[in-house]
Symmetry: none
Subunit: 223 residues, 4 copies
């Protein structure tokens, strides 16, 4: 048991019942699997390539995971549950609580900058999750319940509070407000990825400010 790696030293898995603690070998396999899946997708990846990448024998993989699909789930689900999910939500929640009294503009800008950092760091991971969620309901469920729903709730609560404070229009559903700002922000990230040259000229923070400004110009309560 001496080769166990302490939970906090890797992003995967806390007291997650699916995996428990990870041995050195398991960690190497999961890291290799994530790399290979990320590059080629699940179907086009082979267990033998994962083994080669992990530096273990192919048989070793199946000592730790019953099937190839279990490797996929054991790779992505804990990441969503323990890393993406809480990572995303907690910091979001903290942000919203912490700066409860800042003006809307500033809070939203902080949030978007914070989100952007997180998403950039996690992008390869998020990408494979989003792709494979199309074919594996188990992934879809965890994605929805552990990531999407949590983000929504945090944001909704925040927006509703600001509505009741009179800072945001309440003739529109908070849900609609949320979709708009999240959509605009997401579209910016996508655009930055697809057309790096296009967005490169602009200062990132300026662009985020513009997004917030446009949103709030429409969303603020007119006195």
């Amino acid at each position: 048991m001496s080769d166990k790696i302490p939970i906090y030293q890797h992003p995967w898995v806390g007291e997650d019942p699916l995996l428990g603690e990870l041995t050195d070998k398991q960690w190497k396999i999961l890291k290799a699997a994530l790399k290979v899946f990320t590059e080629k997708g699940y179907s086009a990846s082979t267990t033998s390539e994962i083994a080669r990448e992990a530096g273990v024998a192919e048989g070793t993989i199946f000592r730790h995971f019953k099937t190839k699909k279990e490797i996929l789930l054991a790779t992505l689900i804990p990441l969503m549950q323990n890393f993406i999910g809480p990572g995303v939500t907690n910091s979001l929640h903290d942000l919203l609580l912490q700066h409860d009294n800042l003006p809307m503009e500033d809070v939203l800008l902080l949030i978007l900058e914070d989100r952007q950092k997180h998403i950039s760091a996690l992008w390869p991971l998020l990408r494979i999750v989003l792709l494979e969620a199309n074919y594996h309901p188990e992934l879809r469920d965890v994605l929805l319940n552990n990531v999407v729903t949590r983000v929504q709730e945090s944001l909704l609560t925040f927006l509703q509070k600001r509505q009741s404070k009179g800072e945001l229009r309440d003739d529109l559903d908070a849900w609609t407000l949320m979709r708009s700002i999240v959509g605009a922000f997401a579209a910016y990230l996508v655009s930055k990825t697809l057309f790096p040259e296009r967005e490169q000229g602009h200062e990132n923070r300026q662009e985020l400010k513009a997004i917030v400004n446009l949103f709030l110009s429409g969303a603020k309560k007119k006195s």
Copy 2:
């Protein structure tokens, strides 16, 4: 060649050099391939299932397409070039031209409703294109150049014209405006798909109106 089908009778392929005109058999194969790819994704589809679905022998497929990958490209690229692309762009273009003098609110609503209809109809196709574009650069290129770019250009032109007319703020980049409205609209579609129960209560047109209203409240030039 009596079994040739006139171009205009099927959505695929015009003067596309990749395929030229399609024989009856080719058409059946492509239709079958699209169905199978759509259901299981490229990697998990087998040529034998495509053959069965098309009602031809497996060998026949390879008489028309050199490899499985060529089937994928021959299926999706013409669709993007001749169907999604123009279909999308033209109608968009027409709409924008046709109602050039309508108030912003009405034009945007018309556009979104029109887009929504198109996207719904094409969704299975768009889905597989978006998914596979992640792994096949050939697809990604065509997707960007033939679909995304065209939509952007139409919308940009429209927004810029309205900016120059003084109807929209010109302190913000038209690109930024576009991202916001497109993002908000896309977020609505995604939300409708992922949480049908959530969005079900609302009247679709009301929701689109809210999106437009929110956008324009922020985007309109203050006099």
Copy 3:
């Protein structure tokens, strides 16, 4: 279809729904499978060895049979249904009918000699059937219903008729009589196989006569 082999040219399969007619390749595979199974038993046989023995690619095997187990069943079941079963039963039945009026001694001797010839010819086949029937209920069922039961019925009918004619004791169940003569005969065959040197000295026919004599001495009705 020109490579189909007429049914009657091989022992396997008549209008057997399991296989229908056999192509040249299928025939080679089944022959190879029978050989390999016979030599090493089912579990220890590999599909690759069967392929090598049949002179076909391993993939070819699975074009004709879905699983390794299906090869086993497709090999043995038709043999039992079309070869062992009828072969055994018909000739037995014919014999019994044909020589209905011969003295018991002669009929029994004819039967045993006939059976012995059949069983010798089929021994490798019977052996693998008997062995694998222990692990595959499908085989056991066909063995019992198509072989064992048929033989029993023929013999029982014969013995009962002779009982009612007053030639055999009727204070004993015909079933008991049958078991005794069949058992004695089987023990002789086993003994000949296990201890060839022991039984070699004796003339085969003399030995069969002794078996019949011993049986009839006990089984004949005392006047």
Copy 4:
């Protein structure tokens, strides 16, 4: 070596050079192996299941037995040598000696009843031995030399003595007599196993009596 188990406390192995005395662990492994082999046959059994069943680590098994095949031999050979063989023979021998002066009918009935009891108790073991002897010559040899031959000798001696006493026909080889009674008896056991419903109606002892009666009616010397 304090964990050695005295020989006489387990049925396996006496001065058998193959195993010598057994440690507690070895005993557990052999018991587990016998169970697993008995249930699935040799080929379909896995060493890991044997280990699990024995409650030891998989590596431990290979510390005691070089190969899987050695486990099979170490399991079955000593059982034949020390349990089946002697067990069978001795009690048979004793019976024959003890009741040397009883009438044939009674002795044979006693023998058959005694054998039946033994065989029933040992059936799972005998079954696997008979099956695997087909593929492992080492097993076949021991089976023939230690079990079959011994039984034969005891019975032959008995029958020959009765022949010389004038109680049994001596115009037939004792070997022939033996085969007949053994065959009839074996056929009864097989029949009882395959068609339990058929033989259920009859009283077991009555059936045995009938077998003996039929045999002796034919085998007894006519005065």
